[in-house]
């Protein structure tokens, strides 16, 4: 505490906008102000964690960063600017409270003010790729892509993550959509029969001595089924499979392929001519 006070005093000399270290009462007021202002409306959560906005615990913030963010908001995010709605004293209390949520962050002592590395901003998707993303993640499509597949690890857990195909040609991707190879080399189709007479066929997820798990693709979304017991019969099997592309126009497919290629920085918007049969 003494070090902190000393450092705070030192900091006050070199940086006039830094105020004195907070008292316990001020910290509690700051906490209450935080609870009303920042954790209500379900943004940062009770004690800065556990709600919809980013967690504020154990971060590498500097006080200036917090002060600036609370005052001016963060453009491109839902974080509003509070400079017109709270006083300077309240702002100070909030900054102290938010800094106190990261007890191992040396920035709060101003001993080592490391610049916060800017968050890398992903290259924005083109309008066409965005339209494709909307189709990919559309949960109201009965056979929505994201029920099985993910893209950059967002989506379903069953089929392969499709960011890996970004460098393929539009025509290759189109072929994979209309004539999927299921299973591909990474997957095995099995039939399982348990001692008590249960059977199922699907994409194998896991097999140990005690458990067999497979994705039953006979309904959409596929159901992960688990079977237990030492005496299970597990045999290779085959399974017919097709992608349901009904309701998607050629332009929709072009948008979808544009999105599927977006992980490749060199990718461009795709048109139906790019994957039309020669």
């Amino acid at each position: 505490m003494r070090t902190k006070l000393l450092l705070a005093a030192l900091a006050a000399l070199i940086a006039p906008q830094i105020h004195a270290a907070p008292s316990g009462a001020e910290m509690m007021q700051g906490g209450n102000l935080f609870a009303i202002t920042c954790s209500s409306s379900f943004c940062h959560g009770d004690g800065g964690v556990g709600a919809r906005g980013p967690s504020l615990r154990n971060r590498n913030f500097t006080p200036d960063f917090v002060r600036n963010t609370v005052s001016n908001g963060r453009s491109g995010t839902p974080m509003p600017a509070f400079k017109d709605s709270i006083s300077q004293a309240e702002l100070n209390m909030l900054v102290d409270y938010v800094m106190s949520l990261s007890p191992n962050n040396h920035n709060q002592d101003m001993a080592a003010v490391a610049p916060v590395p800017p968050t890398p901003v992903p290259t924005p998707l083109s309008a066409k790729a965005q339209a494709g993303s909307a189709i990919f993640y559309d949960a109201s499509r009965p056979a929505g892509c994201a029920l099985c597949h993910s893209y950059k690890e967002q989506g379903g857990p069953i089929g392969p993550d499709l960011a890996g195909i970004a460098r393929r040609s539009p025509r290759d991707i189109y072929q994979g959509m209309v004539k999927p190879t299921v299973p591909n080399a990474d997957y095995t189709v099995v039939s399982v029969a348990t001692e008590d007479g249960k059977t199922a066929t699907g994409l194998l997820k896991q097999k140990t001595d005690a458990i067999v798990q497979l994705y039953d693709l006979s309904s959409v979304p596929p159901v992960l089924r688990s079977f237990y017991g030492a005496k299970m019969g597990v045999a290779p099997a085959t399974m017919p499979y097709a992608h349901d592309l009904s309701g998607l126009s050629q332009d929709d497919l072009a948008a979808l392929i544009t999105f599927l290629k977006s992980a490749d920085p060199a990718s461009k918007d795709v048109t139906p001519q790019d994957f039309a049969q020669p």
């Binding site: 509690m28 906490g31 209450n32 102000l33 609870a35 009303i36 202002t37 954790s39 209500s40 409306s41 379900f42 943004c43 959560g45 009770d46 964690v49 556990g50 709600a51 919809r52 906005g53 491109g76 839902p78 509003p80 709605s85 993640y137 949960a139 109201s140 994201a146 029920l147 993910s150 690890e153 967002q154 989506g155 379903g156 857990p157 309904s219 959409v220 979304p221 596929p222 159901v223 992960l224 089924r225 688990s226 237990y228």
Partner: protein, 562 residues
Amino acid sequence: MIRHKLAKTARAWAGMGAFLLPCLWLTGAQAATTGADWPSFFGDSGAQSYSPLDQVNAGNVKNLSVAWAFSTGENGLGATPLVEGGIMYLLAPNNHLFALDAATGKQIWASTREVPSGTLGGVGSSTGIAMAFGLIFEGTRDNHLVAVDAKTGHDVWDIQIEDYRQCKCTTSFTPIMAGDKVIVGARGDIAHRGYISAYDAKTGKFAWRFYVIPAPGEPGNDSWPKEIWNLGGGSTWYGGSYDPELNLVYWGVGNPQPMLNAGARPGSNLYTDSVVAIDAATGTLKWYFQENPNDSLDYDSAPEPTLIDINRGGKVEKLLLHANKSGYSYLLDRTTGKFIAGWPHADKITWAKGLDKDGHPIDAAKTELNVEKLICPSLYGSRAGNHSTYSPKTGWWYSTSFEVCAYTKAMPIMAAKEGDMFMGGFIRPVRSPDTKPFIAAFDPLTGKRQWTYPTGLPNVSPLTSTAGGLVFGGDVFGNAFALDAKTGKKLWSFSTGSGISGSPISYSVGGRQYVAIPSGLQGAPATLIAPLWPEEAKSVPPVGSTLFVFALPATKGAGDAH
């Protein structure tokens, strides 16, 4: 001797009921059960949270003491346990599911599912499970619906509803059963198009999905601007109810998004802030009743739709009672959705002058861009997910009011994509200037208040009533309590050592009645206590996670003593 006394008391109660209700015969929405089990979130499919057990009653509840306790080893316990055939199933916040001997608390099995990073925190925990066909149905933190074998704790089937990282959503607080289907909502105060989904309970096969916002071309889509309809919210937060005779599922739909900026979405914004009735076979809309068109105050219609049957002169009226966070309750005909009556269940209501003959708010206040207005109740609601209870025995409905207001304003909205926060405004909650939090009993037909029990701080626990003439709940200081259902007088309390936000239940094993009350504060309304009541907040104990189970002292004749 004791048995004789109990029987006498029960008779006295029955007599009193008959005396008080000479021409009304009140029943549950479901066929009467013995009440030994607590097989669903609300105890029955009509969301009454009522136990027909009466061994523990107003006369002897003062003797209620701990039979056993079970600690989950976690922080917080908002879950409602289920009981069937002497086995209790309990869900703890981090996807931990336990099967316990309901008479002794002995653990039979525990099942754990990993919680991946980035899921919703405290508000993301499910607080309920459903049960049928020997399976337990659990909505998980990572937005899967999982069926677990009740005998072994093994997963049987598992389905991802939507990637929680994409939709920033998770399952409703509880799934419910509707015949052979398990029905589950989608939760999250975000830019999203809300829905209710149904899956075949035995196989996990997808059955239907009802979107609470109609798609272009469907009736009601024109109540939204083109740019925003598919981000318009309508979270289906809580649990619904089910009428097996009509085969209808009833669900309360949450607020539109952006939450506090109604100017950004001109139109009535169907079917947000509505109670919807959905055909359980097909998932199609049978009727809706919208409580707050074009809402700008976050007045979710999410609380439970309680089903009440009333027999007037031999004709059974099928009714539905529903509380809105706005402080008003609505009585509807649940066959047609027709509005019958509406009345306030809160004291401090400033946002509207009342309800008109069709149940629509009179002079409803709207937020203004960058201008703060004091609005009561606050967006935390007159109450939230802490469910009410309806006692067919007294014919009364018991609910809570927080009496919290908020300075509320709209703010300009920024472009949003699915899963983004979409507040469109800001609030500063404050205590109501001139009213205090309470629990009260109401005549559901007229709204006439029967008694008021001041709670000091907001009561965030759900309430459960019993045929023993009791209403059970718990306060933020950790006191489990029983109120006299007739008078509101506190008859019993027990300090559990951590605040209570989970639902009491009652069940019996071997003829002995138990009352289980989860201890371990959880949920958004509890976060109001520290900033708004700083003095009292000093006495709020740390968060625990223990289920306390109470019974009358074991004696000869009070069931199988342990």
